[in-house]
Symmetry: C2
Subunit: 360 residues, 2 copies
Amino acid sequence: MATGRPTIADVAREAGVSPSTASVVFSGKAPVADATRRRVRAASDRLGYTGPDPRAASLRRGRSGVVGVVFEERLGAAFLDPVKTLMMDGLAEGVAPLGAGLLLLRDEVPASTSEPAPPAEPALSLETALVDAVVLVGASGRLAASLEILRARGIPVVVIEGDAGAGIPRIDLDNLDAQRQAAEHLRRLGHEHVAIVTLPWSGRRRRGLVAASREDDPSIDVTRERLRGAREVYPDATVFETAASLIDEGWEAGAALLRAVNPPTAVIAQSDLLAAGVIRAAEECGLRVPQDLSVTGFDGIALDGFAPYELTTLAQPAAAKGRAAADAVVRMLSGEDAASVRFSCAFRHGNTSGLRPRLD
Amino acid sequence: MATGRPTIADVAREAGVSPSTASVVFSGKAPVADATRRRVRAASDRLGYTGPDPRAASLRRGRSGVVGVVFEERLGAAFLDPVKTLMMDGLAEGVAPLGAGLLLLRDEVPASTSEPAPPAEPALSLETALVDAVVLVGASGRLAASLEILRARGIPVVVIEGDAGAGIPRIDLDNLDAQRQAAEHLRRLGHEHVAIVTLPWSGRRRRGLVAASREDDPSIDVTRERLRGAREVYPDATVFETAASLIDEGWEAGAALLRAVNPPTAVIAQSDLLAAGVIRAAEECGLRVPQDLSVTGFDGIALDGFAPYELTTLAQPAAAKGRAAADAVVRMLSGEDAASVRFSCAFRHGNTSGLRPRLD
DNA sequence: CTGTTAGCGCGTTCAC
DNA sequence: GTGAACGCGCTAACAG
C-alpha cells in the first residue's frame, strides 16, 4: 500500500463494510446500525483516518463551504476601518449556519505599472477562487469587471454599498438621507457657516480643499452620497477631502479649516474618526466643543479613548449589514433569490453639537 | 446535453483537441502551439467556459491554494488589535507568491453551555476546512487540541506567539527581553515606584489590581513574558490587569493607579493602546507626561490621533511576523522544513518618558 | 507539441 | 440497513 493517508475505502475494507456505509457513518446522512457504526469508528481509529477529504467532498457535493469576501484595499487598510471590522464580524456570524468560512480576497486593480507582472504562481483570484458565493465590499472601481467574472462563473454575489447591476442583491445604507439629517440638525442649531470633511473621493488619496466646481463628483459611492446629503442643506459649504478615515486626517482637516480667516462654526465629518480628529484640532486651537464649534460624525462606532465626548453622529448598523449580506448569501445558495436590503442610520445627539456661537 | 456549465472536456471536443491539451492551455503548464491555443480559446468563448472548476482542480492537484488563519476570538475583537491587523497584512503578502488566499477560521472554545449545540449544518472547522496549511494566531487555550487535529490531518502548521510542540515552526518575539529593556530604561531615569499595566491574563477578562501573590501567572504567553521582563527589574511593582488592549482600558488603569495614595512615577504598559489610555488619564489628573509621569508602551504601532506624543515603546515587527509565518508555510508546502523565527523588538525612545520627578 | 489513459476520494444512485 | 458501481471535472503520466 502506498504511504498516503487512508481513504474511506480503506476504512470500509478494514471494517468489513462497503464504502457507502462508511461514508454514511461520517456524514450522518442516513441511519446506521449501532454495531456497524462502532466497527467503522474502530477501523478508522486504527488506520488514523481523519474524516473525509474536503477536496473530494467539495467536488462531489459541488459546494466548498467557503464564502469569498473581496476588498479593494490591502487587508491592513480595510481592517483599520472599524465599520468594516464590525461588518466582517456580522458576516462571520451570518454564514455560520451555513457552516462556511470566509476567504479573504483582494481584488487588486492591475495598477498599470510597466512591470510585466511577476509571473509568480497562478494567483488565486476571483477567477479561480474556490468559493460558493462572494461578497463584494465597498467596491467601486473594478466592480463591473468583478461582477462580470463572477456572473460568468455562475457564482452568487452580494454587494455591500456599491452599485451592482440589476438582479444582484445589494446591502445599502441611507447615506444621503442620514447625512442630510445631521446637516438639518446643525441648521436648526443656527449654524450658517459649515464645512464638510469628506472621506476619500476616489482611489487617488488626495488631501485638501476641494475646488467649488461641482462637476467633479466623488467616485466612491459613500463619499458622494454623504456629500450630497450635506449639500442639500448647505449647498455652498466648504469641502475638505481627506486621504483616509483616520483621526490624524481629521486633525489635518480641522487644523486647516479652523485656521482660515473665516472659520466655520460647525463641521460635518463623514466619519467618526474624522470627527474625532477635527475635535482634537479644535481643542488645540483653543476652541471648545460644542460651545465654539459643533462637530458631527458618521458611523456611530465606539470611539476608543474619546471620553468624555460623545459624538453627535449617525449610528449605522454595521454588523447588521454584514449579517444581512450573509443572509442573502445563504438564501441564494438554497436557490431562493435574495432581495436587496437598505438600512437606515439612527441620528444620535451627543455632546459635540450645540447652538451656533454668538458672532463677535 | 445537460444544462450544466461546460467542462473542459466539452471545450476540447468543440475545439477538436484532447482534454489534456485544452487543460494545458488554461494552466500554462506546458508549451502549446499558438494556433491550438487560439482554437481552444475560441471554443471556450463559444461555449461560455470560464476556466477549470477549482473544486476538481484542487482534488486533482491535492492543493487548494488556501491557508487557514485561526483566531480564538471573534473576528471583530481580533481586528481591533492593530498588531494583528498588521500581521494579517504581512501574512496576506507573504502567501501571495503561493497564489493562496486566507481563510478566516475561528477556533471557538466549545463554551460548555447547556445548549445541546444547535445542530445546524456540518460546521466548517479545523477538522473539515479545505486548507493546505494553517496559521494559529495568539493561540493559548485550545492550542493543544487544535494542533492534534491538524497533526492527524497531516496539515502543516505555524504558530504565531504561542507554545507549539516540538517540530512546529513558531514565530516569536523577544517579549521578555524587550520589556526588560523598557524597565531598565525607566530604572536609568531614576524611577523607583513603577506600576505595570498588563494585557488580559487569560480568557477571563478581569480588570483591576492583581494581588501580590506571584503564584498566579498569566496564562496568556504574551502577558506572562512581558510581565516577567518588567519584574526582573521591578519585582515588586504594582500590577494592574486590564480586560483588553484598548485606550479606554488603559484609561481606567491609569485613573485607578494615579489616584492611589502613593502613585507611581512611571507606568509600564504592555501595549501602546494601554499606554495611550494611561497618558490620557494622567492628563486628566493634571499630571504632565513625561515631567510628572513616565509611560512606556509596547508594539510601536502608529497611534492614530495621539500627536504630539510619541510613545517610548518597543517597536515590534508585526507585519514581518506575518510574512515570516507565510514564508514558513510556503517552505513547508514545498516539502522543506521551516525553522522557527524569533523577532526582536526595537526600543524606541519617544517623548513620554523622562527623569523621575523630584520628590515633594 | 499533442493524444490517450487513468485515476484523485468521495457520495450517491440503485438494487438487494 | 447494506453493498456495488459509477462518475463529479480535472490533470499527471506517459506514449506518439
